[in-house]
């Protein structure tokens, strides 16, 4: 018999290790793409009286994805909404496969919509259930449903075929171009703000037109985007995981300016008794905390929509900048005075009504015309 030397033992040891490695993670946990139910948007509702939770999963219909040879699905709906009810999230997950033939894949959902009644009752469980799951993305934005959940979750959107994608894209545009949506609206932001006893303002999602859309061909066959669509409008103030108030568009702009969010917004101001539409964007933002908190804002102005009037001299321009700054300052002060009533908090500032606000504005972007016709 050949004695076992280290030389002969080594390959055997390598083989044993290699076989052991196969046991660590193996092909039995593999999942093909066509075995997945890809969720694009989740809706959650809770009946405050019975405690019954209803989850809506909008799942992509892969046949409608556009390829070079066109859409294979024809007039099929791009998403299917699966509705499951249960007493807990665990129970919902347990029974969903009674209806769903594929493995639920929630790593790609683009938005979570929470019904208003559930938001008013408390959103703590939602934050926890999303954070606790390994594949549950805490960076996904949370929206509050302004209409019944089944109506929202069964509404298809034109142009962007997946409603979750459509909502996600609109949130970005509203943040950058209108300052109607804040930067911090993800699940993790809700958790962070609530733990700091601060508020968070989440966008509100509503339906327009004849939603819910009966079938996909009515969406693709009509020219009017309002026949069936979703709309983001207003903001829901969330404190202690509960919705406490709604904000309108002007209040949203004021609130996000006071938070230091940078995004373009458009307003009409009265300058020397004449209206002028200005684009503005927060340039610099600074805060001083203490007994007498102070917020200083510097606005960059643009003339992109100022067709009503345009200053003709340096003095006129400076007057205009001053008046715009004063107007914004007054609106912000007014918002601060109402803050407690609206349930809104400002980070690390106990009494928003005591905040001193300084605003100055400077024209940074001129238009293509120096004088409107």
């Amino acid at each position: 018999m050949i004695p076992r030397t280290p030389r002969t033992r080594r390959p055997r040891a390598c083989l044993a290790l290699a076989l052991a490695a196969v046991l660590l993670a193996g092909c039995w946990d593999k999942t093909e793409l066509n075995e997945l139910a890809i969720v694009t948007m989740i809706g959650l509702d809770e009946d405050p009286e019975t405690g019954q939770i209803t989850a809506y999963y909008q799942i992509v219909n892969p046949l409608t994805s556009v390829t070079t040879s066109g859409s294979a699905g024809g007039d099929q709906a791009p998403v299917y909404t699966y509705t499951v009810s249960g007493k807990s999230f665990g129970e919902i997950r347990k029974i969903i496969y009674k209806m769903l033939p594929r493995k639920l894949f929630i790593a790609y959902y683009r938005a979570v919509v929470v019904s208003e009644r559930m938001a008013r009752h408390g959103m703590q469980d939602i934050v926890n259930i999303i954070q606790i799951q390994p594949t549950g993305r805490a960076s996904v934005p949370v929206l509050i449903a302004g209409d019944p959940m089944d109506k929202i979750m069964n509404t298809l959107t034109p142009l962007e075929m997946y409603p979750g994608e459509s909502v996600s894209l609109r949130l970005n545009l509203l943040r950058q171009q209108s300052l109607l949506v804040g930067k911090r609206i993800a699940v993790r932001d809700v958790a962070e703000r609530m733990e700091r006893s601060e508020c968070v303002v989440l966008p509100i999602l509503e339906t327009v037109g004849q939603a819910p859309s009966p079938n996909f061909s009515t969406i693709t066959g009509t020219v009017n985007a309002y026949d069936s669509n979703l709309r983001i409008t207003g903001g829901a103030v969330i404190r202690d995981y509960k919705m406490v108030a709604r904000l309108n568009d002007d209040q949203l702009i004021a609130y996000f300016l006071l938070l230091g969010n940078k995004g373009w917004f458009t307003k009409q101001f009265m300058v020397e008794g004449r209206p002028i539409t200005m684009n503005a964007k927060l340039g610099k933002f600074s805060r001083k905390l203490g007994e007498k908190p102070r917020i200083m804002l510097h606005l960059d102005l643009a003339f992109h929509y100022a067709i009503e009037y345009m200053p003709k001299s340096q003095a006129e321009l400076e007057r205009m900048e001053r008046e715009v700054a004063n107007k914004v300052r007054d609106e912000l002060r007014e918002f601060c005075l109402k803050a407690k009533q609206l349930g809104v908090t400002l980070p690390k500032i106990q009494n928003p009504e005591d905040v001193r606000i300084d605003v100055n504005a400077h024209l940074e972007h001129v238009s293509s015309l120096t004088r409107p016709f």
């Binding site: 193996g26 999942t31 093909e32 066509n34 890809i38 992509v60 790609y108 594949t135």
Partner: protein, 498 residues
Amino acid sequence: MPVRKRLTGDNARKREQDLLARIREILGSPPDLVCHAVIPGDQATDPALCIYLETLVNRSTINDYVLGSLQRGKFSEMQAPGAESSAFLQEFPPNLDMEELARQAADVLVRGMCVVVEPSGPVSFVRVTDPKQRQVDTPVSEISIRGPNEGLAESIITSLGLLRKRINTPQLRFESMQIGYVTRTTVVMAYVENVAPDELVREMRRRLKAIHTDSVLESAYIEEFIQDRALTTFPTMLNTQRADVVAGHLLDGKVAVLVDGSSYALIAPVTFFELFNSPEDYYQRADIATFIRWIRLLSFFIAVFVPSLYVAATTFHQEMIPGALLLSLSAQREGVPLPAFAEVLLMELVFEIIREAGIRMPRVAGQALSIIGAIVLGQAAVDAGLITAAIVIVVSVTGIANFVVPTYSFGIAQRLIRFTFVILAGFMGLFGILCGTLFLIAHLASLKSFGVPYLSPLAPAYPADWRDVLFRAPRPNMGARPPMFIRNLKKKNRNING
């Protein structure tokens, strides 16, 4: 000096006939064996015999010189002292018996010489070799846009001449030896004295002399005998057809091995990063050369990892795929019967078969192969829902990236590794790829080429040599030659037996 016994009359004629018969017997009566009987003009005695293999000799030299001299009865050459082995005309030793003489005569005949048997004089042989060979041609496997395009030839004399033309120094050394008991192939070891480390030259000489084989028909035969490790897919010696590449490496202190009958020279030592270098890197501006070198590195990673990453991402780690891409891939997967792993493996195999067929197939049939490959196996298979379009793209990109590497043998290594990684990814996903990568790095770190660590000059680190690894510094800033990892062989006097 042995006294030659002069033969006359019947004895001489019988000796000639016996010798011719014996030679013919030893050679097996080949059809190209020619024997001329020439009667010298000045005396009407017995004829002299001129024997040669007409497929190996230069006929005009035979006609003009050998036969002419025999007819004139003047057949001699002044030999330089010590030039016996290379002289034009040599005599067999006079004291050989018939059997030994016939054996030696047959031996020189197959080397392309002409045996002349003078009736009453010595038996001699004349160097009239005219090997059938190609002219110096463009190297087919290593074309460059800029720079010389002279490839080594099958004739070793031509190849040596191409090297001499580039390195005009008396320090250029060629050591010749014959390897192969049957083929007795001329193998030449080339190096530049005082530039190549003595240890390296000694080791190469030792390894070459230790070869025991019947035949050497190509430099690959030699490579398998002298390479450091047989069980690796990575080449530990560089093979090239380009004369300028051989010259460049010789100037870097390396040793080249040229084999008669092969247009490929072997160069040692070689490191992993040198396999990414192309001769064109040194004929282009430094910034362009650096950019192209990075493209090659990127292509290496694409060629090795893209199919396995695709398999891992689509079957184990779907959350890593960007949303839009996930939806697109998901749509493509609908109705496809095979799992992604099997799809990739199958398509890679098909691609390898097409590639191999493309090399062997006659050029006229190449177009048919392209059509079958592109349309039938690509488009039709996708349209039929047998495979996804993404797989076709992955396999195509991988295949193209594989051709970017300048060293063909390294490209083959990449192909083998790619299959290993695909299997690992199919079983274990990214975890498998990570394990494979660690094994690969450990394996590369364990390799040596004639004593030089394969991953040098990065590991072990020789910062002085980094100017020509991932970046190619402008020539004035290139630093001294040869590189440190070569010079260190000399300095450390380390044992380089692998």
